[in-house]
């Protein structure tokens, strides 16, 4: 079995940004990377089909989010084992990012997902509704409540509704 030539390019072009979103959602960078890597493994297994799609990233995106939402508990253990293997020369996140990740972690999963998809994937309310299968009104409520909660948790930052 050999990879199609463009899988590597697709992987290199899309991995990092997807990891950022999953990182914001699960609150742990290593776990997010594992989840995204798993999504790409599943994509590679059916790459002959996916590579014909207009947007193979949409498929990977969906799988990664599904994995993240279900939290794929096994990877938590793997992450703990591999945590010490992280390269030491990687710069740590800024205090603001740590605060944001911590605040996101306190939101209910639906609000957190909506916020992450909006701010990190630039999805509109309609896009989020289509992605999550929720009504647009529900998504608006998630975004509103999520932003309000984040503003409070982050010490009164200014937010604007979509």
């Amino acid at each position: 079995m050999s990879a199609r030539p463009d899988f590597a390019e697709f992987y290199a072009a899309t991995f990092a940004r997807l990891t950022v979103q999953i990182h914001a959602f699960v609150g742990d960078h290593a776990e997010a990377q594992d989840l995204v890597q798993e999504a790409y493994c599943r994509a590679f297994a059916r790459w002959s089909t996916l590579s014909r799609y207009d947007e193979p990233l949409a498929w990977v995106n969906r799988v990664a989010w599904n994995l993240a939402v279900s939290r794929w508990r096994r990877l938590t253990l793997l992450r703990r084992r591999m945590h010490d293997l992280s390269p030491p020369d990687v710069a740590g996140p800024s205090a603001a990012s740590v605060d944001l990740a911590r605040a996101l972690g306190q939101l209910p999963p639906n609000q957190r997902r909506a916020i992450v998809l909006h701010y990190l994937q630039d999805m509109s309310v309609a896009d989020i509704a289509a992605f999550t299968g929720a009504a647009e009104g529900t998504v608006k409520a998630w975004l509103h409540r999520g932003r309000t909660a984040l503003a409070s948790l982050l010490g009164g930052v200014e937010v604007t509704d979509v």
Partner: protein, 239 residues
């Protein structure tokens, strides 16, 4: 009004991107190959185990359940005697037997014969001209056994009667009624089968299972006879 959250998320994205070190597409390929390899090994191991099991002395290959005809629902407790279940054997009419009839004659195989018997009307069994064309000297023994046990909780049903007929070219048709008695406190099971063996004097009480729609136990018990069940009728106790 500015959205400070946007700024925070931008900074978060930059931090997270800086931390991200993709394991690489090669790692993906290795993982997928390893999974395929593991799966292949497991499949081969399972196949080898199945072969060893099948070849081991004292074991026989798994046998698919004998097809049981669409047995009609049993009479419910308290139902009127006229609502007795009547049996419907799996054998279809002779005109429907085209493909299977092309098989070689195997009169000693109850399954072969049972699946080819015609059932022109309820409780009537018939060797067809097609079967006789394949097996001119065909002799088919069709037997009926009636089992009864008192109460719903009894575990064993006892044979209270049995009868058999032999179908041949000169006597191609016979009637074996599966009409149930009037509802009582007894579990009743009537089985019609093709086979040379005598029915066992007792069988496990499968009436509750049959009542629940599970017909799998029955052939398990009667396949011990080498029999092929072609009709069943049962009645749960009505007290």
């Amino acid at each position: 009004m500015s959205d400070e959250l946007r700024t925070l998320f931008d900074r978060f994205e930059a931090d997270s991107l800086a931390q991200t070190q993709p394991p690489g597409a090669r790692a993906v390929q290795r993982t997928v190959r390893r999974r395929y390899g593991t799966r292949a090994v497991l499949v081969l191991a399972a196949a080898a185990a199945a072969i060893v099991w099948a070849l081991a002395p004292g074991t026989s290959p798994p046998r698919s359940p004998e097809p049981i005809g669409p047995t009609s629902s049993p009479s419910a407790p308290g139902a009127s005697p006229t609502a007795h279940s009547s049996s419907t054997p799996p054998a279809a009419s002779a005109s429907a037997k085209t493909g299977p009839s092309a098989a070689a004659c195997d009169p000693s195989n109850a399954s072969f014969v049972g699946q080819r018997l015609a059932n022109p009307s309820p409780d009537v069994y018939q060797v067809t001209a097609q079967m006789l064309a394949i097996c001119p000297d065909l002799t088919v023994r069709v037997a009926r056994a009636t089992y009864i046990g008192k109460g719903a909780s009894i575990t064993t049903l006892t044979r209270t009667g049995s009868t058999s007929v032999t179908l041949t070219a000169t006597n191609p048709s016979a009637t074996l009624s599966t009409v149930l008695p009037a509802p009582s406190c007894e579990s009743v099971l009537i089985v019609v089968y093709v086979g040379a063996s005598d029915p066992p004097s007792s069988v496990a009480n499968v009436v509750p299972n049959l009542s629940a729609g599970d017909q799998h136990d029955l052939p398990q018990y009667l396949q011990l006879l080498g029999a092929n069940i072609i009709a069943t009728s049962w009645q749960a106790p009505a007290c």
